[in-house]
């Protein structure tokens, strides 16, 4: 099997973000970056296939400036075989521009499976994976939380509102990974050492045209400061009164 996993470097979300001087991006000073959660589960899914069939090659692809090489190295330290950086100074917001570059890289790669996280924590658009698959003309299943492969076909579970869908698809295919599929492994010390010697190629990203641009960013209005109305069971009548008369939701 030959598997590609497309990953994104995103900021740690556990901070108070500031808007950068351009007014249309987030100030990156002081932010910590790591592989996007959903993408780490996509890497894990590929590695679990490789665990069963060691002949499997796992190629990790990331689009962005040179700092994404760190993120690729992390996936290599988890156990992926080699990395490809599609180099661009700035990652466009337009998902189709990104998908075009990824499809150009993947098209003649001979991959049996191409995996993505279902969306990135930062741009939160959830478009690139399915759009890349569509540009490649491959079968696409999105937001999977369970996967079984049986030779030339597979079955995936998708969580939908109030239930699940079970989806059959032929390989080669493009899949995007939701939470629940697995828990990502931590890189071992041996894996970290080995990753330093694994091949990592850098080439220019062949981005598509952009028709969607961020014109400004802002922090959302703060919620009014929280209010504690009381302690213990004694506060319940006051809560019910407020829900009826003030919030009018009861």
């Amino acid at each position: 099997m030959k598997i590609a996993v497309c990953i994104k470097r995103v900021p740690d979300m556990d901070v108070r973000f500031q808007i950068a001087a351009d007014g249309a991006s987030v100030d990156e000073n002081g932010l910590k970056f790591d592989i996007n959660d959903f993408d780490s589960w996509a890497v894990e899914a590929a590695l679990q296939i490789k665990d069963k069939d060691p002949a499997t090659e796992v190629v990790v692809i990331s689009l962005g400036p040179d700092v994404v090489q760190e993120t690729i190295r992390k996936a290599l330290s988890m156990g992926a075989d080699r990395g490809v950086q599609l180099k661009t100074d700035k990652i466009p917001f337009d998902s189709i521009a990104i998908a075009t570059a990824l499809a150009a890289e993947l098209r003649d790669g001979g991959y049996d499976l191409i995996l993505f996280g279902k969306q990135s924590a930062d741009s939160s658009n959830g478009v690139v994976g399915a759009a890349t698959g569509e540009l490649l003309g491959m079968p696409v299943v999105t937001a999977i939380s369970k996967l079984e492969l049986n030779g030339a076909t597979g079955t995936a579970k998708r969580d939908i509102e109030g239930g699940q869908e079970f989806v059959d698809f032929p390989l080669p295919a493009v899949l995007t990974v939701d939470q629940g599929l697995n828990a990502a492994r931590y890189p071992s010390l041996k894996g970290i050492m080995a990753a330093k010697k694994k091949p990592l190629e850098s080439k220019p990203a062949q981005l598509g045209a952009t028709s969607v641009t961020v014109s400004s960013m802002a922090l959302p209005p703060e919620r009014a400061a929280g209010r504690i109305i009381g302690e213990g069971v004694a506060a319940v009548p006051e809560l019910v009164r407020l829900l009826q008369t003030e919030a009018k939701v009861l």
Partner: protein, 328 residues
Amino acid sequence: MANILAFAEARNGELRKIAFEAVTAARSLADKTGGAVHAVLVGAPGIAARASQLAQYGADVVVVVEHPAFERYNPEATAAFTAERITSGGYRAAIFPTSALGSDLAPRIAAKLGVGLVTDVTSIESHGDALVVKHPVNIGKVVATVKMTATPALIAVRANTFTPAENPKSGTVEQAQPVGDPSAARVVVKEVKLGGGAKLDLGEAPVIVSGGRGLKAPENFKLVEELADAFGNAAVGATRAVTDDGWRPHTDQIGQTGRLVSPQLYVAVGISGAIQHLAGMRTSKTIVAINKDKEAPIFKVADYGIVGDALEIVPALTQAVKAAKARG
């Protein structure tokens, strides 16, 4: 002429609430651009009977495509039909739901048409030649204003944001044929399992009661369920800690990697308020928190907080809500 297309999501022959939200968003945009709203309704034979409901919310035309292979969601054939219709109809914009179905469908269409798509959109304005939309980024901690210059602009609206507004139009039914053979799709939804019929979905429930580790044991989730039952219109959610531990299914998880919700009322029971969780519920209209630690971050966003043991307070609240409901 600047007609707007709305994709009307149906499941099991019934329209979903977000179908009316998409039509409402399309109507509001069409009224600004001076065009008509065409709703696309895809389903098994008989789905055309639902067209009049779409007319009620502002669809001038309902484009119906019926085929037995549309009984369950058929991603490839639905995308092929809708993309072809968007192109041949010359629409200014197409509005999709941000839902399990819409998030799968809209990117396929964006790729087919080679135009940008913005999902999880909370507002849509028309500025000259461009459409300008708002889209939360960085788990909702930042809001991006996004300019869309291509025609058509593809927009997927956030659930529970464009409140369905009745605005009756003619809703002329136009029967259309599928593009290609829907039975020949490569990707096939072979089975759909739906949870207990009466339970409301998290994305659509006006009230959500959610539980976290403060409930101490999985069996105590029944207190959360009883409170939800007392409200009558409530769904049950959970934190990532609880779903990771297997107390509740992953599908119940509210947060950065789970569901994003914004109900009228969110009741957080035994939830400390980790960033990961707040990202999924901070836009709720009213937030109630019950937690034993008065320093817990959840109290910073709670409109009404009660400090104390959830296992004692929740049953009392359930009784009080039942009594309030009984009084009407």
